[in-house]
Each structure stands twice: as C-alpha cells, then as structure tokens.
Point group: C2
Chain length 196, copies 2
DNA sequence: AATAAATACTAATAAGCGTTAGTTTTGCAA
DNA sequence: TTGCAAAACTAACGCTTATTAGTATTTATT
C-alpha cells in the first residue's frame, strides 16, 4: 500500500514510464509483466491502472516520444544553412548524445517497436522512413557539392545510422570513455575513415 | 495429421529450426508461440516435442550456431598472415555476407539473446566479449604498424561492429543493391571515410 | 502381412498474463 | 474534523502459454 514516490519534477505516470522503459530495455517488452513493473514501485499491478491505460500504451509513449525527438532535431538541421558535412556531423553527435542521456528510451524504441499494435506500427515506420529519407537528402546534397565521395547515398546512410543506432553496446563501455571522446572518434571515423 | 515435409537435405528438426528462426525474427521470441510455429508445418504444437526438447532449446541452437560461425571465421583470420587492413576488410565483408545469406539466424541471435536462460546467457556473453577483444587486437595491430589513425581502438570496433551488425535494416533494401556493391561501399566507408 | 519405431493426435495441466470489478485506505481541502 | 477525490488494495476473470500423458496413426523393416 506504499504510494508511488514521485520525483521532484514528475507526475506518477512519469515514474511508471521511466521504470517501464528500464525494464523493457533489460528484459524486453513481452518478457516484462505489469506485476513486475508494479513491484519496482512497491505497489500491486492493478494499481497501475489508476495512472495508465494499458501496457501497450506505455510502449507507444516510449517509441513515439523518441521518434519525436529525432524528427524535431532533423527538422532543425534541415532548416539550417550549414554545409552537408556539418549537418551530418551534428546528426551523428545528436544520436550519440541521445543514447547517452536517454539510453533506455532509445534502446526500447529501437528494439521493441515491432510489438506496437498494428496501427501504431504503421505510423512508426512511416516516421522512420521519413527520417531516413531526410538523411539521404543531406548525403545527396554533399555529393552534389562535391564534398563527399560518390558512394551510394542510401548505403552511406545505412552505414551511419547503423553505426550510431548500434551504440547500445556502449552501455558496457560507458564509463571507459567520455561522451566527448566518443563523439570525436565516431564523427572522425564515419566522415574520414580510419586509414592513413 | 500432416507430416512435416523435409527438404532435400535436412532433418525434420532442421525444418523446425528454420521456421522458428523466421518467426522469431518477424515477431520476437517471446511473442512467438509453439502453436504458431507448429502451424507453419501444419501440425499441432505438442507434436513438436517429438523433435525438440523445448522452446528455449530452439533459441539456444540459433544463438550459439551464429556465435560459432563468427568465432570460427575470426580464428581463421587471426591465424592468417595478412595485413590488419585486409583482416578488417575481410571481417566486415564476412558480416555482410552472413546477414545476406543467414539473415533470420543472425537477426535472432543479435536481438533475442537476452531471452536465453541465465546459464546460456552468461556463456553467450563470454563468447561475444572474446570476439570483440579479437577485433580490438586487429585494430591495435594496425595502429602499431602505422596503418591506422590513432583513434581509440575500442570505439573503432564499436563503430564497425555497430555498423555491420545494424545491417538488419538492409532487409527492406535488399533488392536495391547487390551484395558486391554493398560490400564495396561499406568497406570503403568504414576504412577510408566519405569525405574527399 | 506382421511388427516395431517414429510421429502424429487429443485432452489436460499448471502457471502466468493483462485487465476489470468492487472495496478500502490515504491524503488533501474545507 | 469531516468529506471527497485519488490511489491503493484483494479477488477474480478469461485467455494464452509451454509442456506432459496417453493414445492413435503412419512409415519403415522384416
């Protein structure tokens, strides 16, 4: 009968969302039960329903929350007057920063979106495709202005997105490098390669 | 009461494994039921137990099968007398080829290993860490022989492994590029960058 | 054709799931 | 201190799950 302890700035639902995100990352969405989630707050599972609509709604909020963050930043970048190199560099850095600062949510969004309900899943994929297309456009811009080698833009984006998205493996190395060093290394690597 | 149709070369268990792999990739391990798996072969779920030990054992075989493939190739590379550049290049190509030719298994291994039972999970992580360490060693070798820039080896490996591992997104582009073009682009990108 | 082995079936079990209903407790406002 | 809304509780539902037991059927061998 313990009440959910709310943090300084955050409703009870926020606490649930945060704990759900952590569990979904560690165990997977399907492998996490509401009873288990409730336990992290010392309450019983049905009590959750005073704050949430359903288990599915939790995943929905997490996935679309992350999608929104990335889309908004992309729109910011697209609207700027920077060079394609700088745009790309900033996007890579943003991905790294998001993983550093919002690890659970980003991870869950990347791994569990398949468990979204049919309708949400379609919408999610549309947003992701749009993001990817915007990315490709930046590469195209760079190629046209002869800033980039003429590699295949879609493969380039695939490579970059895979590299930064896959930074979830970072978690085990998190204390070994500062985020600054990590950003520097990855941007260097993905833009200029590793061969002398 | 239909009997499982075995392919030209393959026991009934192999058919089950293959179908399981496909389903686990599409829906996730936890989200796939044995009834569903059985249905792909027009039999009832309990009949599966004439061929398999448990659902968990299926995942186990898939994950450790993939791990074995990568470990074996890594040992081959390590034992060779090639330059670090060639070793790295070959490893990257191997990853791409595996994803192309063994997509379901590689995907499931990358995504569902968390659902392994405690004991198997520990073993799996040990093997993965060993693989990663071998990768780092190759980078170190290249740096020592002044073939590579002095980027942080662990971050470099993280970047490369993330990039190739993340090629699962490839699935939606699979018909757009040949594997040769893909390999060329990615190796070029990851070794020499994209900036002119 | 008879026998044995492999492999399918049906029926059932125990456990766990998300969720609902109905009730009690808590904490704040008057 | 009383009253009301928020949020907790217990009990239970209906469903799905992996798996087992026991039995029938198919296939291969003699």
């Amino acid at each position: 009968m313990a009440k959910i302890k709310t943090l300084a700035n955050g409703s009870k639902k926020d606490v649930i969302l945060k704990n759900a995100s952590a569990l979904f990352r560690k165990k997977g969405f399907k492998a996490t039960s509401l009873r288990e989630l409730a336990e992290t707050m010392d309450i019983e599972a049905p009590s959750l329903y005073n704050h949430i609509d359903s288990k599915a709604a939790l995943l929905e909020e997490i996935c679309f929350g992350v999608a929104k963050d990335f889309t908004e930043y992309m729109n910011l970048i697209i609207g700027s007057k920077e060079s394609a190199v700088d745009k790309l560099s900033k996007l890579i850095r943003f991905h790294i920063q998001k993983i550093y600062t919002d690890f659970d949510n980003v991870f869950v969004s990347n791994h569990e979106w398949k468990q979204l309900s049919k309708k949400q899943l379609v919408e999610f994929l549309i947003q992701r495709k749009a993001y990817e297309n915007a990315f490709v456009e930046i590469i195209n811009e760079g190629v046209k202005k002869k800033l980039f080698k003429t590699l295949h833009p879609q493969i380039t984006v695939l490579t970059i997105l895979s590299a930064v998205r896959g930074l979830e493996f970072l978690h085990s190395h998190k204390n070994e490098f500062s985020i600054e060093i990590l950003e520097e290394n990855m941007v260097q690597h993905l833009l200029t390669g590793i061969i002398k």
